[in-house]
């Protein structure tokens, strides 16, 4: 069935086109083509998984040769293995749930048809990245995702915040993408082809498994890996390109669930997992990735602790969790890292959709204006608590398996990198548990702190169309935690983990330690909260809170050293264009008019002037002719 894999990007893309042009005219509205396309892709992904699962390391390539411009031919096709199949299912599930959820969340939005089409297009792009058989296909999907992200973040383009956030997201990821493209070209040129098989079998990549090779190949893997990391850091919002993700929360909440939790930001991690042999061939790149991950996971968790905006807390949480996945991959815990990608998709999408449910009811993003919602919104509360517990890493929920798997892999790896990741990971567990508890308590418990009297919104549970996805994702968060008990080794087989990476293994000791940390941190926050349910437990951070809430001023720094000089340059170019080029063009017109005006003075209406000119000209002619003739 893997030959059906091409349908995975094709169906949502077709739905996007149909929805864009016919959306408002379909009976049932623009949601119909969108949901139909995504549901179709979901079914296909299940079929693909069924046939790809169980056969270790097999790949199925359907190839169509394409010669775009004279010279190189490009083999367009799909390359399906276990990783691809599992991730495809994950993407389709989340996309489908988001589309269903959006029918209620975005009801009444005048641009809903465009929105649904863009979400379909985005799903198609992500699936293209997943099933791509060569690097150019991957790049096309990558860039399409960036475009859709820009369009969707800027969905409320009438607000300044959304416009700015969309541009910021696009430009920041662009920085990374520039390096990414060069990395792909390096790999392709070295391998002589852009097909993934050929690239991964190229001498510079496989040398760890082969014998001596000429030294010129030594650095190709490192250069390519570092360049690819640029794109990963941009797309997955790691330090130092993490600044766009919290601002991207200006987009609609279902988008945050789909793009900025489950899929697009995970694409960077996916690429690292897919091209893992490249990184393994250059261990320095994995060290770099690990260090970036440690900085990011801790920093982002601390920022989440200080934020008041609900969605921004979740955004920083995403950044931190992505760093977890990156750290897992950095310490050769390939299976653990990928598994965390899957579980994160489930619980983060759940948390974002629950947040959307809350936001839609309460009308504000700020946690200081919420509280006591558990009575009015029971389903949302329960599912959100499940999501929070998964995020914190409490067993038996899925988060425990993947997180402890990563910590275990780090511990096993040892050495400088492994120990750093382990320690940073443990500290982050504590901080994560703290901010998650704070989030739950501030939003759902205590008393409602928002507007009262006439301005008080009617607190009610969201419609079934919105709560059903929440329940399904909560169930997933539980089910994915199952392997804790017996089946963890299945996952490694399913995913076709590369040779030489650690299996997903969770020791009882590790679980106990991290659970203890989680409970301790949560308990501390709960105790702080109990003292004054209306106040913010983060106030205990005291003066540290300010810089944390401002993200250590990295945004301001970027603004000063990058944005303002670039804007100044753009203004200068504009001025040169206005006063230089435009002025030259307009000046030529003005000069022509001026010359005409000067000539016009001959026509002054004075007939004596005309007659004088006539007489003198005639005399001159006569004299001239006679002199010429006389010669």
């Amino acid at each position: 069935m893997t030959h059906l894999a091409w349908l995975l990007p094709a169906l949502p893309a077709f739905a996007a086109v149909v929805g864009l042009f016919l959306g408002t005219r379909t009976a049932g509205g623009p949601a119909v083509p969108a949901i139909a396309g995504t549901a179709g892709a979901f079914v296909v992904s299940l079929l693909v998984l069924a046939s790809a699962e169980g056969s270790p390391a097999t790949l199925h390539e359907s190839v169509v040769t394409w010669t775009p411009i004279g010279g190189r031919t490009l083999n367009v096709g799909t390359r399906v293995d276990g990783l691809v199949a599992v991730v495809a299912v994950m993407v389709c599930v989340v996309a489908l749930l988001v589309q269903v959820y959006s029918t209620a969340y975005m009801a009444g939005d005048p641009r809903y048809s465009t929105y649904a089409a863009e979400v379909s297009l985005f799903t198609a792009a992500m699936l293209l990245v997943v099933v791509a058989s060569n690097l150019f296909e991957l790049l096309i999907g990558w860039e399409l995702m960036g475009l859709c992200s820009y369009l969707l973040i800027g969905h409320y383009w009438q607000t300044e915040g959304a416009r700015a956030a969309a541009v910021k997201a696009f430009v920041t990821t662009r920085f990374g993408d520039a390096a990414f493209v060069i990395g792909i070209i390096v790999l392709g040129v070295h391998a002589g082809s852009f097909d993934l098989d050929r690239v991964l079998a190229a001498p510079a990549i496989t040398r760890r498994y082969a014998d001596y090779l000429p030294p010129v190949h030594d650095h190709v893997a490192l250069i390519a890996a570092l360049l690819l990391l640029g794109g990963v850091v941009g797309k997955s919002a790691q330090f130092p390109l993490h600044v766009w993700l919290p601002d991207a929360m200006a987009g609609p909440t279902p988008i945050s669930a789909l793009i900025h939790a489950a899929t697009m930001v995970a694409a960077g991690i996916f690429v690292v997992a897919r091209l893992y042999p490249v990184f393994v061939a250059a261990p320095a790149s994995l060290t770099v990735l690990g260090i970036i991950a440690c900085i990011t996971m801790l920093g982002a968790a601390l920022f989440a602790l200080a934020e008041d905006d609900l969605k921004r807390v979740l955004a920083w949480s995403t950044v931190s969790q992505l760093a977890y996945m990156a750290a897992g991959l950095a310490v050769r815990g390939w299976t653990a890292g990928v598994y965390h990608l899957l579980t994160h998709a489930a619980f983060k999408a759940l948390l974002f959709l629950a947040a959307g449910s809350v936001l839609r009811t309460v009308g504000t993003n700020l946690m200081s204006q919420m509280g006591g919602l558990r009575r009015a919104m029971p389903v949302t509360t329960v599912t959100a608590i499940v999501g929070a517990a998964t995020l914190a890493g409490l067993p038996p929920f899925a988060g425990a398996v993947s997180k402890d798997g990563i910590l275990d892999a780090a511990h096993e790896r040892g050495g400088g990198l492994g120990t750093t990741v382990y320690v940073a990971g443990l500290i982050t567990v504590a901080v994560t548990s703290a901010y998650v508890t704070r989030f739950v308590l501030r939003t759902f418990f205590g008393e409602y702190r928002g507007a009262s009297g006439e301005a008080r919104p009617r607190l009610h549970e969201s419609p079934l169309v919105m709560t059903m996805p929440l329940v399904l994702l909560a169930a997933a968060s539980v089910v994915l935690g199952e392997p804790l008990v017996a089946h963890n080794w299945h996952i490694a087989r399913w995913l076709n983990a590369p040779i030489g990476t650690a299996a997903l293994h969770v020791g009882a000791g590790g679980v106990a330690l991290s659970t203890a940390i989680v409970v301790l941190a949560a308990g501390t926050v709960y105790a702080l909260w109990r003292r004054d349910p209306a106040a913010d437990p983060a106030a205990v951070l005291g003066r540290a809170r300010g810089p944390l809430a401002a993200g250590f001023g990295i945004d301001a720094l970027y603004d000063r050293i990058l944005v303002r000089p670039l804007q100044g340059l753009a203004d200068a170019v504009l001025r040169v264009d206005d006063s230089g080029l435009d002025a030259a063009a307009e000046g030529s017109g003005a000069t022509a008019s001026g010359l005409g005006g000067a000539l016009r003075r001959l026509q002054n209406g004075n007939i004596q002037a005309y007659a004088s000119g006539l007489v003198i000209a005639v005399i001159a002619l006569v004299v001239g002719v006679s002199l010429a003739v006389a010669r």
Binding site: N606, S612, V615, I616, I619, V622
Partner: protein, 166 residues
């Protein structure tokens, strides 16, 4: 240097001087009167050249009609009676250049071409009334008729141009 030369020369000087005064005088009426002098001298020149009829026609028509007409025109257009500073327009320098150039070119041309030419006034047919009249009505009847039509047209035109709306 015959007597004819001398007489013609004197008359020419008078004519020229009068002409210059016509174009430089600051009184319009004075200019018209100097024009009379100029035309009179020219009539004398014609007489020296044995063109009698032309000379008397010159006196009759030019001095008797044209100048009178101009005086009428000057009076009807309220020409200033006294001296006028601005009787010359600002075009004077250019006009002087043009005039000098014209005179220079034409004068050089004719002198260079006809330096040795000599009019024998004793052996030409004197242009009196009988001779000119015969020639006119024998050889130039058609232009004569056309000229009369032209005069009629000018008459009608002048009346139409100056007719006041009733």
């Amino acid at each position: 240097m015959t007597l004819a030369d001398v007489v013609f020369g004197l008359l020419g000087v008078v004519c020229l001087a009068a002409a210059i005064l016509v174009v430089t005088s600051r009184h319009v009426i004075h200019a018209a009167l100097w024009l009379v002098v100029c035309f009179g001298a020219l009539a004398g020149c014609y007489l020296v050249l044995t063109a009698e009829l032309v000379a008397w026609v010159q006196v009759l028509i030019y001095i008797g009609a044209v100048v009178v007409l101009m005086l009428f025109g000057a009076m009807l257009t309220r020409a200033p009676v006294g001296a006028v500073q601005q009787l010359d327009s600002g075009n004077r320098p250019v006009a002087a250049v043009a005039g000098l150039a014209t005179a220079g070119v034409l004068g050089t041309l004719v002198v260079a071409a006809f330096r040795g030419a000599y009019v024998d006034i004793h052996h030409t047919a004197i242009g009196d009334g009988k001779v000119i009249g015969t020639s006119l009505f024998r050889f130039f009847v058609l232009p004569f008729e056309v000229a009369s039509v032209l005069l009629l047209a000018a008459l009608v035109g002048a009346i139409v141009l100056t007719k006041r709306e009733a």
